[in-house]
C-alpha cells in the first residue's frame, strides 16, 4: 500500500502542529462501508480502536452490528490474525442478506501484517473486500473515504458490460437534495444518468464501472480519480459550487460527454442567472468568516461564502495538498484569502483566531468551542454543513441563509460569554 504523503509535515514557521485535527482516519472508510445495504463490516484492530470507531460509526454511520476478531497481544504476536479475521468474515457473511464483507484493516493489524492473499474473496453470496486504512499512514478521514471507495470499485466495478457513454459517476457524500438537483440539471443537458457514490447500493458500485465519466465533487478522491483514468474514463474537475464554479463545471461536463453545446450553454446560463438572483437576495457582505473544518470540503465552502460577499481570510483542512484542490486554492487567493492550510493543527486555527478576529467560525469541535468562548458565533462544520444543501443555486441559498441567520444570533453568543464570566 502506498502511504499518503505528509506534504505539510511540521511547519518550519512559528506555529507548532501539536494537535492534529482529523477524526480517526479510518472512520471515513467505516462511514461509507457501513451505510451500504447488505454490507457487514469486519474490523481488524485492537479493542481501544474498535471501541472508538464502533462508537462513531453508530453515531454517524449506520445502526449496524460490527464484528471483529479478538486481536490482543497473544493473537497479534503469534500470527493468528488471519485465522481470527477469517472467522469474523464467515460470521458476517451469515448475516441475513449479506452481499458484502468489507474487512477494515487498522493500525495494529497493518503493523502485524494482513496478507490479502490469505483472506477469501467470496463467502457465499458475499464479496470480501480488504480496505487498508491505518491511521498512521492515511492521516485524515476524508482520504480514508477515497481509499475505501477505490477498493470497492476495483473489486465490484463492472468492466465487462457495454460502456454507458452518457452516464456520469458523481462522487462525494452530499446532502440528498443536492444529489437530486445535480442529477436533474445534468439530465436537462443531455446526460443519460448519474450514479451517486458513495451510496447505499452495491449495484450502483457495479454499474459505476461502465460509466463514461467521473465527477469527483470533493478534492480528496485521488485514488478513485486515478482508477477512472486507468479505466479510460473522462474526469470532470471542480464542482457545481457558486456562480462561476457551477457554470464552469456544467460546461466541462458538456464538453467531456460531447453534449449539445447550445443546450449545455442554455442550461448553464439559466443556472447562472438563478445563482445571481440568490446572491442579489442575500449577501454576506461585511462578514469575516474562518472556514476550518476537517472534512476536506472546506475550500469549496469558502469559495461559496466569498462569492456571497464574505471575507474569508483563512481556510484550513485535514487533507493534504493535492492538484485536485489547487484550482479552489488559487481562486480563493486571488480574492483575498491569505492562508490556506492543509493537514492543519489546532494551533494554526487558534493563531488565525487571534490574527483575524472573525465574525463567524466554521470549525472542528475544539476550535468552535474556543471561538464560542470569545463570544464569536461558531459551528461544528461537520454536523452543520453536511446537513443542508450546498451545490447549485438551490444549495447556495440554503448555505448562505444558514450563515446569515447565525450571524443574526451573534448577541446570543456574546450574552452567553458575559453570563458565564460573571
Amino acid at each position: 500500500m502506498e502511504p499518503i504523503a505528509l506534504s505539510a509535515e511540521q511547519s518550519q514557521g512559528h506555529t507548532c502542529k501539536l494537535h492534529p485535527q482529523s477524526m480517526c482516519p479510518a472512520f471515513g472508510s467505516l462511514r461509507i462501508l457501513s451505510r451500504i445495504e447488505g454490507s457487514h463490516p469486519v474490523m481488524a484492530t485492537d479493542t481501544g480502536c474498535l471501541y472508538g470507531l464502533t462508537f462513531v460509526t453508530h453515531f454517524y454511520g449506520a445502526r449496524k452490528s460490527i464484528l471483529a476478531p479478538t486481536l490482543g497481544s497473544a493473537e497479534l504476536y503469534s500470527g493468528e490474525i488471519v485465522e481470527g479475521t477469517r472467522a469474523a468474515i464467515e460470521a458476517a457473511a451469515r448475516e441475513p442478506g449479506c452481499r458484502l464483507v468489507p474487512v477494515v484493516s487498522l493500525c495494529v493489524a497493518e503493523t502485524a501484517g494482513m496478507p490479502e492473499e490469505l483472506l477469501p474473496r467470496q463467502v457465499g453470496d458475499a464479496e470480501v473486500v480488504l480496505v487498508r486504512v491505518p491511521a498512521y499512514a492515511i492521516h485524515s478521514h476524508p482520504e480514508a473515504k477515497d481509499v475505501a471507495l477505490e477498493a470497492l470499485l476495483r473489486r465490484l466495478g463492472d468492466r465487462e458490460g457495454p460502456r454507458e457513454e452518457r452516464t456520469v459517476v458523481v462522487v462525494g457524500e452530499v446532502f440528498p437534495a443536492d444529489q437530486l438537483a445535480i442529477d436533474a440539471i445534468l439530465r436537462r443537458m443531455g446526460v443519460a444518468a448519474t450514479i451517486a457514490l458513495p451510496g447505499r447500493s452495491i449495484d450502483d458500485l457495479r454499474r459505476a464501472g461502465r460509466a463514461a465519466a467521473l465527477a469527483p465533487l470533493h478534492p480528496f478522491y485521488k485514488g478513485v480519480t486515478r482508477l477512472y483514468r486507468e479505466w479510460g474514463a473522462s474526469v470532470a474537475g471542480g464542482a457545481p459550487v457558486g456562480i462561476s464554479g457551477t457554470y464552469a463545471w456544467l460546461k466541462s461536463i458538456g464538453a467531456l460527454l460531447d453534449l449539445d453545446p447550445a443546450l449545455v450553454d442554455r442550461v448553464a446560463q439559466e443556472e447562472r442567472d438563478k445563482a445571481q438572483a440568490v446572491l442579489a437576495a442575500k449577501s454576506l457582505k461585511g462578514a469575516r468568516v474562518l472556514v476550518t473544518g476537517y472534512e476536506g470540503t472546506e475550500l469549496a465552502y469558502a469559495r461559496l461564502l466569498v462569492e456571497a460577499g464574505a471575507e474569508v481570510p483563512y481556510v484550513s483542512t485535514s487533507i493534504g495538498v493535492d492538484p485536485l484542490s489547487l484550482p479552489d486554492e488559487l481562486w480563493l487567493k486571488t480574492r483575498g484569502t491569505q492562508e490556506v492550510v492543509y493537514r492543519k493543527a489546532l494551533e494554526e486555527d487558534m493563531a488565525a483566531l487571534d490574527r483575524y478576529a472573525p465574525d463567524f467560525v466554521l470549525g472542528t469541535t475544539p476550535f468552535a468551542a474556543a471561538a464560542k468562548e470569545r463570544g464569536i458565533p461558531a459551528m461544528y462544520f461537520t454536523n452543520q454543513l453536511a446537513s443542508r444543501p450546498f451545490f447549485l443555486s438551490s444549495g447556495m441559498a440554503a448555505t448562505i441563509g444558514f450563515v446569515a441567520e447565525t450571524l443574526e444570533r451573534t448577541n446570543r453568543y456574546r450574552e452567553m460569554v458575559a453570563f458565564f464570566a460573571e
Partner: protein, 493 residues
C-alpha cells in the same frame, strides 16, 4: 479452539482507561504515544458524546506516522512533542505522563528510559492496551497513581474521623454526575464528610490525601476496589435500591460512629424521598410490576444493582442480565442479540448495542433505557441517579412513565387522520367477527405471546381487525392461518 470473535465491543482498552482517569485532573498533562486516530477518538470524538465536553484539553498526541512505525520508533516524536509543549507554556505546573497505546506497544515502544531524559519527574505509563481491558485498566491506573504520586508522600497523613473518599468517577462513567450527587448526599445523611472525590474532583497533588479518609466508598464494582484495598481503610460500594441503600447508610454510620444520625436520615428518607416508591407500590402502577419483564446489560454495578432492585425488591421479571465485565454465566453480545431478536422484554436497559439489536428486530413494543456506554447521551443534569434512594425513585418513575407511553401508543386513533396524510389503508371496523380457524387463532396467539404484557390487549384487537379486513377484501368466509401470517408480516410482527 476456534478464534474468539467480538460483536459490538462493549468496553474499551487500558489506554482509554488511563486517559479518561488521568485527564480529569487539571494538574496532569498526558502525552499519548499515539497515531492521530487514538488521539481524536479518546480526546474529542467520544467524550463529546459520553461526557458532553467539547474535548479533553490536557492531552497531546505524539502523532505516530509511517516513519515511526517503519523504523524510527517514537522516541524522537515524543521528545519533540514534549519540548514544544514546554516551550508553549502548556506544561507549567503540570505533571507530564507519557502513555503507551496499542500501536506504540505493537512497535515495541517502551519509553520508560526516554522519560528520564525529559523534564524532571516525567513518568511513563505502559497502558498494556493489547491485553488489558477498560476495567482492569481503570483499576490498575488508580493503583498506579497512588503508588507513584500518593503513597510516597502519605507517611504523615492519618485518617481523620468522620471523613469519606468517593473513588471511581472519571470520564466515560455512565450517569456519574447524578450518581455522585446522590452518593454524596447519602454520605452526608449518614453523618460523613467528603474528603476527596477521586479522581474526578481532585488534583494529582491531592493524591496523598487519599490516606486522610476514614472510609472509602467505591462507586463501581467493576473497578476502584484495588485502590481502596491499598488505602486499607474500610470500604463500601455505592448502593442501589431501597434495601441496599439502607444497609449502606447504616453501615457507614456504624463505621463513622454516627449511627444515630444515620438512622434518623433513613427514617426521614422513608417519609420524604422514598414516599414516591411507597405511593406507586400502593397505587395501580405497582400492580404491573409482576407482569413486566426487564432485560439488563450494563456495567457490573448497574447490572447487579438494577437486577436486585427491580427483581428482588419490586418483583419484576428479570429476563436476562449481562454485566460488564461479563461474569462467567452472562450472555455475550451475540447471545443478547439473539434473545432480543427472538423476543424482546418490555423494558431493556442497555447501551447503544442493545438499542441497535432492538432496531434490527423491529421490536417496537419494547422500551429502551440508556443505562450504559457505549452510546451517545447527555447525563449532566444531576437529577437522574440510578444509585441510592433517589435512584430508586428515578428508576421506578421512568418505568412507570414507560408503561404509560406503551399504553398510549396502543390506544386507537381515528384512522381518518392517517387517511388525510396518505397513510395506511383504513381498516373497516365492520360489525361482527369472521370465524377463525383454530390454526389461525393459534398463529395470532403465538405472535401476541412475544409482545410485552401491557400492549397485548390493544395489539390483539388491532391485529384481529387487520386480519379480518384483509379477509373481507378477498371475500373469504373464514380467517385462515396463511392470512394471519400475511397480516402479521405486513404489520412487522
Amino acid at each position: 479452539m476456534p478464534p474468539s470473535l467480538i460483536r459490538d465491543l462493549s468496553d474499551t482498552s487500558g489506554y482509554w482507561a488511563a486517559v479518561w482517569t488521568m485527564c480529569t485532573m487539571p494538574d496532569v498533562h498526558v502525552i499519548a504515544d499515539a497515531p492521530v486516530g487514538c488521539f481524536n477518538l479518546v480526546a474529542t470524538a467520544v467524550p463529546d458524546y459520553t461526557d458532553a465536553i467539547p474535548h479533553i484539553e490536557n492531552m497531546t498526541p505524539a502523532t505516530i506516522t509511517e516513519q515511526e512505525v517503519g523504523a524510527k520508533g517514537t522516541s524522537d516524536k515524543v521528545r519533540w512533542t514534549y519540548e514544544n509543549l514546554r516551550a508553549s507554556g502548556a506544561l507549567d505546573g503540570k505533571q507530564v505522563i507519557v502513555i503507551s497505546t496499542a500501536e506504540s506497544e505493537m512497535i515495541g515502544a517502551d519509553l520508560s528510559s526516554l522519560v528520564a531524559t525529559l523534564g524532571e519527574g516525567t513518568r511513563f505509563y505502559w497502558s498494556n492496551s493489547l491485553s488489558e481491558d477498560e476495567w482492569a485498566g481503570r483499576d490498575r491506573v488508580l493503583r498506579w497513581l497512588w503508588e507513584q504520586f500518593g503513597a510516597p508522600h502519605a507517611a504523615g497523613v492519618a485518617p481523620a474521623p468522620g471523613t469519606v473518599n468517593i473513588i471511581g468517577p472519571t470520564y466515560g462513567c455512565f450517569n456519574s454526575p447524578s450518581d455522585l450527587e446522590e452518593v454524596r448526599r447519602l454520605i452526608a445523611g449518614a453523618g460523613g464528610r467528603i474528603n476527596l472525590v477521586y479522581p474526578l474532583e481532585a488534583t494529582l497533588a491531592d493524591t496523598p490525601r487519599l490516606a486522610a479518609a476514614q472510609v472509602n466508598v467505591v462507586m463501581y464494582r467493576e473497578f476502584g476496589a484495588g485502590l481502596a484495598g491499598m488505602l486499607g481503610q474500610p470500604m463500601l460500594y455505592a448502593p442501589f435500591g431501597m434495601r441496599e441503600t439502607t444497609a449502606f447508610v447504616r453501615e457507614l454510620g456504624r463505621l463513622l460512629g454516627t449511627s444515630e444520625q444515620a438512622e434518623a436520615f433513613i427514617a426521614g428518607e422513608k417519609r420524604t424521598t422514598l414516599r414516591a416508591v411507597w405511593d406507586l407500590w400502593r397505587g395501580p402502577q405497582g400492580d404491573w410490576f409482576g407482569t413486566t419483564d426487564v432485560g439488563i446489560v450494563a456495567g457490573r454495578s448497574y447490572a447487579e444493582g438494577l437486577a436486585r432492585y427491580l427483581g428482588d425488591e419490586l418483583g419484576m421479571k428479570i429476563a436476562f442480565v449481562s454485566a460488564r465485565p461479563r461474569r462467567p454465566d452472562d450472555p455475550d453480545n451475540d447471545e443478547v442479540r439473539q434473545m432480543l431478536h427472538r423476543r424482546a422484554p418490555a423494558f431493556v436497559f442497555g447501551s447503544i448495542n442493545e438499542k441497535i439489536y432492538l432496531s434490527e428486530a423491529g421490536a417496537k413494543f419494547a422500551r429502551f433505557f440508556m443505562a450504559a456506554f457505549p452510546g451517545p447521551t447527555v447525563r449532566r443534569a444531576v437529577g437522574t441517579p440510578f444509585m441510592g434512594y433517589r435512584g430508586a425513585v428515578y428508576v421506578v418513575q421512568e418505568i412507570v412513565n414507560g408503561l404509560y407511553d406503551t399504553l398510549f401508543n396502543f390506544l386507537p386513533v381515528d384512522q381518518a387522520y392517517s387517511m388525510i396524510r396518505g397513510g395506511p389503508p383504513k381498516i373497516e371496523a365492520a360489525p361482527g367477527n369472521l370465524p377463525w380457524s383454530l390454526e389461525a387463532k393459534a398463529v395470532l396467539d403465538e405472535a401476541l405471546e412475544k409482545l410485552p404484557y401491557i400492549p397485548r390487549i390493544s395489539a390483539s384487537r388491532q391485529m384481529q381487525m387487520q386480519v379480518e379486513a384483509l379477509a373481507r377484501e378477498r371475500s373469504l368466509k373464514e380467517v385462515t392461518p396463511d392470512l394471519v401470517r400475511e397480516a402479521l408480516a405486513t404489520a412487522g410482527m
